[in-house]
Amino acid sequence: MHWLQDLEEKARLIRRDIVTMIGAAGSGHPGGSLSAVEIVTALYFHIMRLDPQNPDWPDRDRFILSKGHAAPLLYAALAHRGYFRREELLTLRKLGSRLQGHPDRKSLPGVEMSTGSLGQGLSVANGIALAGRLDGRPYRVYVLLGDGELEEGMVWEAAMAAAHYKLDRVTAFIDHNGLQIDGPIREVLSPEPIAAKFRAFGWEVLTIDGHDFGQIIGAVEEAKKIKGRPTAIVAETVKGKGVGFMEHQVGWHGVAPKPEEVERALEELEGGKGRG
């Protein structure tokens, strides 16, 4: 299981970079970046067909970060995958940086779409999938949505359209960490039951442990076999995953760790401790 160890090591390094870069920026969203690390790591280092040397390769698989506030996660994954140098991660959110607070497709290679205003990514993924079908290209489109993001009505317009147009090349991950800025999603405005909603909209739905690489990759393999309808993968996750004092904490949605907190987090994310 060498590949699994490699992925886990990559996830650990990406978590370290997320904490470090948000700490250096003095602002950003650690909680929802950390909860989706395994999903994005699996996509960029195992699942998607990409060429970092040729980021516009027409047949590449696409990833749309609909929950654009997890930009630090996307940036860290892109840097580790070789789209740009890792040192640049420390420019996050600084004036003139290519690493904008939320992703900007015009500034950074590898960023497929500018996102940040919630609810818009799935529609964009649908458009990409329709274009792929028209052009007879083999690529697949992966989208990452937050669970709180599902409160946006536009997501359900897009869900309806993806099923109507039978976009089986679209796979949507739902980062089901259960928390949003103002509190637990069930208390703020419950989007539950999420799996049943997608099913009712005509989607194939799989529910997995979103921190388990085997399950993530297995679910995508299954999604690839499904013809005639899109797949939603509801990934059960922990907000702040990997940094003990951030886990399950609403308060770490959009607050940067102070220098001593960055240090504590990095200690926890040291290698060789048997942690993910």
């Binding site: 027409p58 900007d104 779409m113 500018s114 799935l122 792929g132």
Partner: protein
Amino acid sequence: MAKMATREAYGRALVELGREDERVVVLDADLSKSTKTEYFAREFPHRFFNMGIAEQNLMGTAAGLALCGKVPFASSFAIFATGRAFEQVRNSIAYPRLNVKIAASHAGITVGEDGASHQSVEDIALMRALPNMTVIVPADAVETRQAVFAAARHEGPVYLRLGRMGVPVLYYEDYRFQIGKAHRLRRGRDATILACGYMVTLALEAARNLEAEGLSVGVLNVSTIKPLDRQAVVEAARETGALVTAEEHSIIGGLGSAVAEVLAEEYPVPLRRVGLRDTFGESGSPEELLAKYGLSVANIEKNVREVLLQK
């Protein structure tokens, strides 16, 4: 004079464009019979996507298609395309500078009987405020056809504002529309009317009537609201010393505002703005509404006479 609605000219031009350019795809929100994208849908069913009554998703989908090199024309009524989906247009089209053409019909009060909910009087203001967005309001069928092709050639987001009502055909087929260039239809010495859309027709009539009174009034068709032809505005100000704008839109944020901004900064001369005066429309026939809200030949003439007193 032959009449044709600009939406009709749009629908026909799209088919022509679609034959020439494989990249062109069209999206509509259950209004293809009204926006006239149905013609394209009939000829190119696989390149037409009816997105249902869901304009936000329509804009996002158009963005995704543009990301893959398609040239999407996204159509609905002006109020829904620019209002309902404003933030999608802003964040998923204008900000990432995607090559989406938002071609919206039923702009202004000539929508008529449907009333204020369907009469967009603020769409130019909304689209004009967006960085990267080009805003075009064609005056007739010939200019509309030209504008459709120009929009397709232009790399970047475009808003094309179209009307429901049949309007006179002003131009011969050899007319060449250019994005960012106002077209002088009539030279004058005393004042210039700067108009867009159907108001160009009324402006010409007003100028002819005023000529009978001994006034020499120029008419400029300002079909590109953004980027505005600043040079033409300043030239008109310099040559005639008094301007009147006319638009089927609120006087807040549209052509009148755009012209006022240029004058204030570059060449201040007296200006009057004809348009909706900070009000919504209502139900009625287009003719009744145009008269009631001052979008008339008589009111344009009145404003010319008034602006001349300020010279």
